[in-house]
């Protein structure tokens, strides 16, 4: 009997200390894309401050809904909300990290970075008007390469996603036909192709189906060594998807704190900017000043100390100038 009491007592004490030790918790929900980097940052942050971050990667749409209903401390979204909507929902918004989308192909014997594509070619392929790889437009861009006379299979995301939003915004920007016929969004009415679930679904289909082309997040393409293509940007350069070209895109983008940083980073004007980049955003409820200060503290810490972690996980950190702009935005709203 005495032993039983001791055991129960020990358990209770253990539980109480855990609770006491857990301290503050920040609750966030939203985009799946930045989840790995947020949780890596949260791990380091927790070791230093004892503050825990509980981030649920339920998707950007869910993140927007949850912060609109004020059930979390912050929401995360791959797609920026327009200033009008932010005012209506009484939200703040700032970018946290840069990501981007990379076209990947499966053509036997073709290596990563060999194929050059431009807006016209991408537009035709995804609209279904360019149907074979030896099409004049594609071979015209790649004088040294010999393309097979094979049908192109387009692979796209089947689930709604920020990746698709960035990609279709890019297509809408370079191709008026796409803009009129399909448009941009997290899920669109695809004119052609098959749909894979998630980045891994698209990557798998591309790997499985010969002569296919798809699009995945930069990190996913890099970690899985997929055969990416070069893309022509608005400045006329054929660029490679790498940290440098993404940061160039971010640096040349005109983020405006007055518009709550509402900006699609696609087709950025920089000379070496990758054309399909995008920032992922954090949403805060304007009236929750205390929890906002805590959230901002976390992201400020991440801006100062998290670049290395981000790069290790193949996320592109914000350029320093943009970080300062974000800090200024926090200050002007009294949460920094």
């Amino acid at each position: 009997m005495k032993r039983a009491v001791t055991i129960v007592f020990t358990i209770i004490v253990a539980m109480m200390t855990t609770i006491a030790f857990a301290g503050e918790t920040l609750n966030g929900a939203g985009a799946t894309f930045p989840y790995p980097v947020y949780s890596a940052w949260a791990w380091d942050y927790n070791k230093i401050t004892g503050i825990k971050l509980n981030y649920q990667s339920i998707g950007s749409g869910g993140g927007q809904r949850q912060i609109a209903n004020r059930t979390v401390d912050f929401g995360a979204s791959d797609a920026p909300l327009k200033p009008g909507k932010l005012n209506k929902l009484k939200l703040y918004q700032f970018p946290a990290v840069i990501g981007g989308v990379v076209p990947v192909v499966n053509i036997p014997k073709m290596k990563a970075g060999q194929i050059r594509l431009d807006g016209e070619a991408m537009c035709g392929i995804f609209l279904g008007t360019i149907t074979t790889w030896n099409d004049k437009i594609i071979s015209g861009l790649n004088p040294g390469l010999k393309f097979p006379d094979k049908k192109i299979t387009v692979v796209h995301r089947s689930d709604g996603s920020g990746t698709t939003a960035i990609f279709t915004t890019y297509l809408s920007g370079i191709c008026s036909k796409w803009k009129d016929k399909v448009g941009a969004g997290k899920a669109v009415k695809w004119p052609t192709g098959i749909g894979g679930k998630g980045n891994e679904g698209v990557a798998n289909y591309v790997r499985r189906v010969k002569y296919s082309i798809g699009y995945v997040e930069f990190a996913y393409a890099k970690q899985n060594k997929l055969t990416y293509t070069l893309l022509k940007n608005p400045a006329g350069t054929f660029v490679k998807p790498n940290f440098q070209s993404f940061q160039d895109a971010a640096a040349s983008g005109k983020f405006d704190p007055k518009k709550h940083f509402y900006l699609w980073l696609t087709n950025a004007p920089g000379k070496n900017a990758w054309p399909i980049a995008g920032a992922t955003f954090i949403l805060l409820a304007r009236e929750k000043r205390d929890s906002n200060i805590n959230t901002v503290k976390f992201y400020d810490w991440a801006f100062n100390n998290g670049d290395k972690t981000a790069k290790r996980l193949v996320y592109v950190p914000l350029p320093e100038a943009l970080k300062d702009k974000v800090r200024g935005y926090w200050k002007s709203h009294g949460i920094y």
Partner: protein
Amino acid sequence: MRVLLRKNPVDLLFLTITAIASATVLVLIAGILYVLFLKSSLAIEKFGILNFIFSTDWDPVRQIFGAATTLFGTAVTTILALFFAIPVAIGTAIFITEIAPNFMKGPIGIAIELLAAIPSIIYGMWGLFTLAPIMAEYIEPALQNTLGKVPLLGALFAGTPMGIDLFTASIILSIMIIPFTASIARDSFNLTPAIVKESAYAIGATKWEVVKNVILPYSKSGVFGGIILSLGRALGETMAVAFVLGNNHQISSSLFHAASTITVTLANEFTEADTDIYLSSLFYLALILFVMSFIALAVAKIFLLRAQKRYSA
């Protein structure tokens, strides 16, 4: 009431608890139906009923939604899956009940039930990594070279074989529903009174004749009920299909094309449905599926009841 009062208090308590338990089920079903209806009312208002069901548009950018493409995918995969599964399932059931020696009945029966216990996501992954490449490289090209050459029928097998299409999804689904049909068919066959079977054998009927003329007619309703139950399962299957169907909102005449079903659409698009009408349309799809499954199960119940009545009579 008087009957209740006469019982002893423990019995009364027991009665109340069980009554509450079963009432919970009814309340839950009514609640689900109510919520589905409430959430989809916006879409019902905007798109109507027939217009929604027959519209092939599914355009999240322009906020125009219709159920025809997903209903098509659901119907085709379900019907094809039943087409593949029923002969195998009934054959298995006949083998277990009538033909197999006693020592084999147990293991085969357990193996079938184990098929039902495999989580559907595992079927999906197996389908994507193992079955789809086999389909794409061997089976689908072979079908194209044989049946695909037949006029009219050939249209069913047109297109590039990728292994990620209606055909592969239906085969996965059929494997998943075989256990349901097979175990209910087996139970129905076992309901056939031994005396009837023995009489048939006594007048010189062969095994085939007994199965064909005695057992199958006798257990017709039960087997049919089992088929409808598997139909309900096939209608609602999500993960396995999501892996191999290609998830595209389109209607095509070829079985080698990607498509989408109601449940797959829900699983894929719920998280990022960011406008009210989009979300409401997804709920509307769910409502349609709910009603479809409800009707299927009701029909199954009627047939099973008829089978039981015949047995007791």
